[in-house]
Amino acid sequence: MPRAEPGTSKPLLPQGAELVAPPTPARVYASLAVALAATLLPWADGMLWLVPDFTLMALLYWSIRAPRLAGLGVAFLLGLVTDVAGGVLMGLNALAYCAATFVILMLRRRLEGFDVPRQALQLAPLLLGKEALVLLAGLMLGLPQADWRWLAAGLVAAVLWLPLAWLMDRLTGYTRVAGQGEAGPRVRV
């Protein structure tokens, strides 16, 4: 089977792992369900503010890799479910998820080409921004106070992106060619 050598430009047709293991709907939705279940676990009361939003992480992962399967609609539905599970105002997390997915879909071509650590760096402001958006939107809607410690969950999510994205790559048989996206050949630093 022909493989794209590192350093050469990407072939027109999908090859290698991408052809062998494309992101199927079953995989995408199953992993989203697992991520949602992880957030629904009975976490200890004292550490709730540190629990990262696994649902959002899975959503962003698939928005980068399979934007036709996980897009704004899925983000909206998952956000509503998260709102109900968290007992917060309906639409608060849905709004934040939609905004994060929108940013991802705009930056997708760039993010696709990064390896996992660089992706984590690029996504850190987004994961942090989602928590900030939820807190600010809640305050603007007249809730009496917000617990700013919850911003820490965004940082935890950015750190956990490294192992989790690597794990997802492994589980779905996806191989990243470091530093080479659809934009063209690798740039030597």
Binding site: L41, P42, R68, G86, G91, V134, L135
Partner: protein
């Protein structure tokens, strides 16, 4: 490969910014409906009923772990605990006899003074399932809901004092907002001198606050605060807090006091939901003539 997993050759759909703005509008619409008009309780209850079995299944391994931990206790521990519980039960039984006598006496005295009978309560035992991941409020979920006859607004207590209030009821679960939440308040009475004040949460787990206290109010460190029962939500006489700090006014006309909640807010697994006893069915209504005049006088306000 599924046909949806790659981009179509001809784009025949709305652009991404347009779709995004439509979703944002939809979210804002939902937020406004929920925040201002509380119109989404049906949708929320429905989604919650779907989520409930999933959450119960996910929590099950933890229950088993706790059960397994409880299985490996020694015989000595169990028998020691048994002796202690027996002694406690005897003491409580003696107290109960005393209480019955007092209740009878109280009922007779109230009848003599033509006062309406004290509202009674029925306790429903619930187990705390989880704390809600809500950055805006201090809430827990208990495993009793509409199916067990709960309704929003009922007080929740534990063995040591007031814990909070039921704020949302779902088919099999209910959401309890803790007393320490910033939006919660309870009218209380100082046990020492009967001073009536309002205790509010301030978002901290271990402290409550008396916000607008008269500068000359007689409130000292160590005073015990009990619910006064004048709000019609919390029945009278539930221990709420102990005053730990009072602050003289400096920049504002009001003094301030800090209290420690007596109820194990966020500590115990089991709580009691106090269901108001239907008094109207068992007891005849109070005499209308002496109560009519003050009510009609206060009505126009």
């Amino acid at each position: 490969m599924s046909p949806a997993s790659h981009a179509p050759m001809f784009v025949r759909e709305m652009g991404l910014p347009l779709r995004f703005s439509l979703y944002v509008l939809l979210c804002l619409f939902l937020l406004a409906l929920d925040a201002r008009y509380a119109a989404l309780s049906g949708l929320r209850a429905g989604l919650n009923a779907v989520l409930h079995p999933v959450q119960t299944a996910l929590a099950q391994p933890w229950h088993w772990l706790r059960g397994a931990g409880g299985f490996f206790v020694t015989h000595a521990e169990v028998s020691a605990e048994n002796v202690e519980l027996r002694q406690r039960e005897e003491r409580l039984r003696a107290d109960l006899l005393d209480r019955r006598a007092l209740a009878d006496e109280n009922a007779q005295l109230r009848a003599l003074l033509a006062l309406p009978p004290r509202p009674g309560v029925i306790a429903v035992v619930g187990e705390i399932q989880a704390a809600l991941p809500d950055p805006f409020a201090r809430k827990v979920v208990i495993n009793r809901g509409e199916a067990h006859g709960l309704a929003a607004g009922w007080p929740v207590v534990d063995a040591t004092g007031l814990v909070g209030q039921v704020t949302r009821v779902f088919p099999w679960t209910a959401e309890v907002t803790l007393l320490t939440d910033r939006g919660q308040a309870a009218p209380v009475q100082n046990q020492r001198n009967g001073l009536r004040i309002i205790v509010s949460g301030q978002g901290s787990d271990s402290l409550l606050e008396v916000r607008f206290l008269d500068a000359h109010a007689d409130l000292k460190v160590g005073d015990l605060l009990y619910t006064s029962g004048i709000d019609g939500v919390y029945p009278a006489g539930i221990p709420v807090a102990e005053v730990v700090h009072t602050e003289q006014p400096r920049h504002s006309p009001f003094a301030r006091a800090l209290c420690r909640p007596l109820g194990g807010v966020g500590q115990y697994r089991h709580v009691l939901v106090l269901k108001p006893e239907p008094v109207a069915a068992t007891v005849p209504p109070p005499q209308p003539s002496p109560r009519k005049s003050p009510e009609s006088r206060h009505a126009p306000r």
